[in-house]
């Protein structure tokens, strides 16, 4: 398991949170309960299984929703 912290561009609408949350939760390999989308700090944190999915795929899922990923950090759990 790895923990990713993904910094996005300033989030403005709270409904964005729901979108990002649902989109990332439904990805294979992402631990559902770990997904947290932080409105004010405009960050996503989640745990994922690196054997099933990689960070690029997660970032892409967020990017296709129209949110720009600024930078990400991955830490082994």
């Amino acid at each position: 398991m790895q923990k990713a912290t993904i910094q996005l561009e300033t989030l403005t609408c709270p409904s964005c949170l729901l979108k990002i949350e649902n989109a990332t939760k439904n990805l294979q390999g992402v631990q559902k309960e770990s997904v947290q989308v932080l409105f004010n700090s405009s960050k996503v944190t989640l745990n994922f299984d690196e054997e099933i999915i990689n960070l690029e795929k997660i970032e892409q899922a967020i990017a296709t929703l129209g949110y720009v990923v600024k930078k990400s950090q991955v830490k082994a759990l």
Binding site: C13, P14, S15, L38, N40, L65
Partner: protein, 619 residues
């Protein structure tokens, strides 16, 4: 393609603004109906594109978003060929989003300033002994790092060599530079103002004190209160509800105009954004003023506090006792002082330290023998004289005669809240020292402010004797004062007050009062960024600055009021808009969208006021 459109959202808003102007001038200026229609239609299509994409993406992840409401509304306007409204609504929606982004950045600016203080690179020693610049992530515990003048200290560590002055404002809030030399501790995020030092890394990244402060503030700004969770839940069902409502209206009245107007008016924007905006701006204000509030529950509870319980030493007082009175009963003052210092220099008792500090290091006598009388003082043989230093009980034990005058002095000093140190030379009492822990400057007026802000009970609990505690309580105008309290007694006392239904904040130094800090509804640590303080408390006052306490208390009240205002504005606007659809003639989609976007901005601007919050001037 989708991504491109979304990225160019702001440009699209600009183009559609131009098209709308073109449309209206050609219609009203030149009565060119067809050009007007085409440009407005084009503006609508352009404008709705990014909104529709967002709506579609939300739907794919099973979210009914505001974007969907607007998209359907615009499509409806197209069907009834009302291009004016569709163009204006899309433009307002995009432009509103743009303004929201700008203003939201402002409300978050205070916290961003803080996080930007985090060091990004370090000069790390390579294997060959030279230093090279590396990214902060590459530094690990045990690395030797070079810090140059003007640079940020990259990690928490220990100085290996070199000297310098460091500004530790980012950790302690105190801007006066602190001197550092070999074996001094240095903290990440502080700035070396002059000198050059080499340090060994002890804690890196998120483990540093600064990293923890940032993490704490970042978590706090996004922590959700009960109210917020309720609103989130509510809005989850609210948006689909508006959609269904408008469909029902359309089916019943067969009025497309009315149905799409309801779609636009029902957007919940200001409601969902109001509370987090107040939260982030308020916590940001705190961070700027040396007050760390750990989240919105803390804000809520703190604002309701009616009893504040203080620890005495180090909280109300400076925690550094000093000599307040000196009385000699001998003509040979200097000699007595020198004997005293010679003896006291050997001790690290706080009272002994206070005396040495007061008299200076004038003792040059050789100590031949010392006996420590536990809880009493010291008996020593100095230069052939028998010196007894200690409290009254020790003097009596040593059968030293105390004059009536001395007895009077002792009684007087004790009543003033002094701890006493007596000294006798060869069985003759020669001097009396009254030592007091100074009350922090201005504490009295700060306590007064707390009372004005609505705190009813101010209580001091201390391990000191009741006399000393009473004096402090009288000086400061506290409502209750209890001495002889061990940490567990304090905790028991707090428990008892809580049973009476009081809401309690406990203010302590965070070191030996952790049970009380944890037990009270709000634990407030006066810590110079110490770990314990950060971990166990709900609120941290940086740099042990007592003046921040009234600010913190006033701030939480202001934040709570601000949240309520925002909720009221949001709900009020939606109610008024929906009512006016049915009750007035002038309401349409464009006005609805305008009012709606305006209300979001009002809510953000209202939240922003918290960034500038200051305690009102003293009465």
């Amino acid at each position: 393609m989708q991504k491109f459109i979304l990225e160019k959202k702001n440009n699209i808003a600009g183009v559609s603004a131009l098209l709308i102007i073109l449309g209206f001038t050609s219609e009203f200026g030149f009565h060119n109906e067809s050009l007007a229609m085409w440009s407005l239609a084009l503006a609508s299509v352009l404008g709705v594109a990014p909104i529709a994409i967002q709506a579609y993406q939300a739907l794919r992840v099973k979210v009914v978003s505001i974007d969907l409401l607007v998209t359907i509304a615009v499509a409806g306007a197209f069907v009834i060929r009302n291009f004016e409204e569709s163009a204006i609504v899309t433009f307002l929606f995009l432009f509103g989003a743009f303004l929201e982004q700008r203003t939201l950045q402002k409300t978050r600016s205070a916290i961003k300033e803080l996080t930007e203080l985090a060091p990004e690179s370090a000069w790390k020693q390579r294997e060959d002994g030279t230093f090279g610049e590396v990214a902060i992530d590459e530094v690990t515990v045990g690395d030797i790092l070079l810090v140059k003048t003007g640079a940020k200290v990259p990690v928490d560590g220990m100085v290996q060599s070199g000297e310098g002055y460091i500004n530790e404002a980012s950790i302690t809030g105190e801007a006066v530079p602190v001197g550092k030399h070999k074996d001094s501790r240095v903290f990440a995020g502080t700035i070396l103002e002059n000198g050059t030092i080499q340090i060994i890394a002890e804690r890196v990244g998120e483990d540093t004190t600064f990293g923890r402060i940032i993490e704490l503030v970042e978590e706090a700004q996004d922590s959700k209160s009960e109210t917020q969770r309720f609103i989130d839940k509510f809005s989850l069902y609210y948006t689909p509800f508006v959609l269904i409502l408008s469909v029902v209206v359309w089916l019943i009245f067969r009025d497309m105009e009315l149905a799409i107007t309801i779609l636009v008016l029902g957007c919940p924007g200001a409601l969902v954004i109001g509370v987090p905006v107040s939260n982030v701006a308020g916590i940001g204000n705190g961070a700027r003023h040396g007050v760390l509030l750990k989240g919105s529950e803390v804000i809520h509870d703190f604002s309701k506090v009616d009893t504040i319980v203080f620890d005495k030493t180090g909280t109300l007082t400076i925690g550094n006792p000093s000599v307040a009175d000196t009385i000699y009963y001998t003509a040979e003052e200097e000699k007595t002082a020198a004997y005293l210092v010679s003896v006291e220099q050997e001790s690290d008792h706080p009272l002994a330290k206070a005396i040495v500090e007061k008299l200076g290091e004038i003792g040059t006598y050789k100590i031949e023998k010392t006996d420590v009388a536990r809880g009493g003082g010291i008996v020593a043989l100095v230069d052939g004289h028998r010196i007894v230093v200690g409290n009254l009980a020790l003097m009596e034990e040593e059968q030293i005669e105390i004059s009536d005058q001395a007895h009077q002095d002792i009684a007087r000093l004790e009543q003033q809240g002094n701890s006493l140190v007596l000294i006798s030379v060869d069985g003759e009492m020669q001097a009396l020292f009254g030592i007091r822990d100074q009350v922090r400057p201005n504490v009295k007026s700060h306590l007064q402010r707390l009372k004005e802000l609505g705190v009813k009970h101010l209580v001091v609990l201390s391990g000191d004797n009741q006399g000393t505690v009473d004096v402090v309580a009288r000086q400061l105008g506290l409502t209750e004062a209890y001495g002889h309290m061990l940490p567990e007694d304090k905790a028991a006392y707090i428990k008892r007050l809580q049973k009476e239904g009081r809401i309690i904040a406990f203010v302590g130094d965070g070191v030996n009062d952790s049970p009380s800090l944890a037990l009270a509804q709000i634990g407030i640590a006066m810590g110079s960024g110490t770990d314990v303080a950060i971990e166990t408390s709900d609120v941290v006052l940086m740099n042990s600055d007592f003046s921040r306490l009234p600010h913190a208390f006033g701030l939480t009240k202001a934040i709570l009021a601000n949240m309520r205002q925002n909720i009221a504005i949001a709900v009020g606007v939606v109610v008024v808009l929906l009512a006016s659809v049915f009750l007035s003639e002038w309401m349409n989609m464009s006005i609805g969208m305008l009012v709606h976007e305006a209300s979001i901005l009002v809510v953000i601007l209202n939240g922003m006021r918290l960034l500038r919050y200051r305690l009102p001037k003293e009465r």
